[in-house]
Amino acid sequence: MIDRLYAYFDSPRRQTILLIAIVVLMALAPLVMGRYMTTIMTNALLYVVLALGLNVVVGYAGLLDLGYAAFFAVGAYSIGILTVQFDWNFWLAIPPALVAACIAGVIIGGPTLRLRSDYLAIVTLGFGEIVRFGARNLEITGRATGLSNIPEPNFFGYVISSYVDFYYIFLLLAIVAVIASHRLYHSRLGRAWLYVRHDEDAAEAMGINRVRVKLAAYVTGSVFGAFGGIFFAANLGAISPESFSFEQSVLVLMAVILGGMGKIPGVILGAFIIILGPELLRNLGELRLLLFAVVMLLIMLLRPSGIWPERRH
């Protein structure tokens, strides 16, 4: 049944129509959604951006990254530090934040890419925790309390402030992230990620610089994460280290896995499930995380390519 549904939407034309329909619906949604629903959807859209970013690393390049929240944190804290501690303009602070994320990507990726995949996973986890401990213990990051009073971005005189404004910002970000993911996938670099993931040696024999290609995946992923973090910080107006915990990394990873690694629509679906699911089950309390964990395990055992897997003939 479900497979036939996917098959139906396998044609690019139908996919485009479906996509446009979804975008139009999403754009109109705040007219009928209450504040709560809009907030949750904003959160889901943030996760779409993060999950698509992690998907570049895990889904495309096949590198298990358990510290993705670190990139998210670098984006959020760069903006926070520049605007709060140094009184920079929000928009001016974005380029340095992105540069910081790229540097973080190189620092984390660089020395570790020679490692075998399971070591890589644990090292990224360690880096993620180091970033969080750093944020918690440094003066410039506001220590455990974090940074508050991050100014609301001013867009040519219009102050982006209400929850609806941020909904549209994240909708825009998500659309850009989808387009960017799609274009990356169908590019020289995107193919190189797949080559390296499938067979490193054969890829190298084809003249592909394995380390460089993987590094590009980390840096690309970190830029996605940083964009998410930048607007996350602007939206909440305050950030603290606990938002960038290991659990956050795991949730984003779950979104990628649930939806199906590598496939854009699947990852989007995964992000929505990860955010909307728990809200629907809010009163399940702790059980919801257990539920997610069990679902994740079952997916790995029974349908390892996710709910909406990558299809190839």
Binding site: L64, D118, F127, F133, F292, M296, L297
Partner: protein
Amino acid sequence: MPAGLTAPAPVRFNAGYGGLGMPALETFLQAIVNGLVLGSFYALIALGYTMIFGVIKLLNFAHGDVYMVGAFVGFGALSLVSGVVGAGWTGLFIAILISMVAVGFLGVIIQRVAYQPMLSAPRLSILITALAVSLVLQNGALSLTHGKYTAFRTDLGFGGFEFGRLFISHQAMVLVATAAVLMIALEFFVSRTMYGRAMRAVSIDKDMCRLMGINVNRVVAITFLIGSALAAAAGTMAGAYYGSIWYFMGFLIGLKAFTAAVIGGIGSITGAMLGGLILGMLESFGTQIPWIGSEWKDVFTFAILILVLVFKPTGLLGKSEVERM
């Protein structure tokens, strides 16, 4: 109220040891004792990582949580037997044994249900599966305990030996001794028994073992049984020693024990023991360095992990992997 707690404050030594009141020797010895205790926990858990990695080349993310489950099973067992034998040393030893057996089998079940079907899948898939198992155990315990700390009460008391400022509790001594006995028993098992030798053979070449008629599946199962049982023993002892258990207790220590296994050389049993001790000592002494505040302690451990993995991934006693292709 336990004896000794209300004793008047001891006479203070005058500062004169670089600002430290405590004589350097005693500080040093105390750090060794602390390092031994920590190292025993790390080593017991690291053994599981290393053994499982040896036979199926899997980094078992769930191992830290097996330790946590071990603590809860030990707690349950102690509650059951304390009515009969009390919550003293006897009760605790029985609880440890029960926990080891029960959790050992849990390890085998995990291996059969979650890992066995994934052995031929891509590496990324089995890693994620291991992560999922870890999350299931963690959140299962979270749901059962509602995320609260469970007090692990024993009648062991707070007694100990005191030499000046150096203080060694009875519990710490028994703990280190128990860990040592378990490790010696393991060493004996691996080097002298048939299954132990089979285990080493499987870790070198699985296909060859199959040809030679070794039941590889059984060897893998026994490895999980022993690895998990050791973690369960560590978990129960930690519960009794620290006095409380909770669902998240396996996360950090799991990471650290993994670090210990890596330092010693993953795949090497002696390496895991050595690595555990070294990491325990490093942490114990590292945090005495005045300019590394205790808030940076875990960063210190992670930094060691990353440095070792990047610069000497084979660890101290590990064998280098066969060249590619």
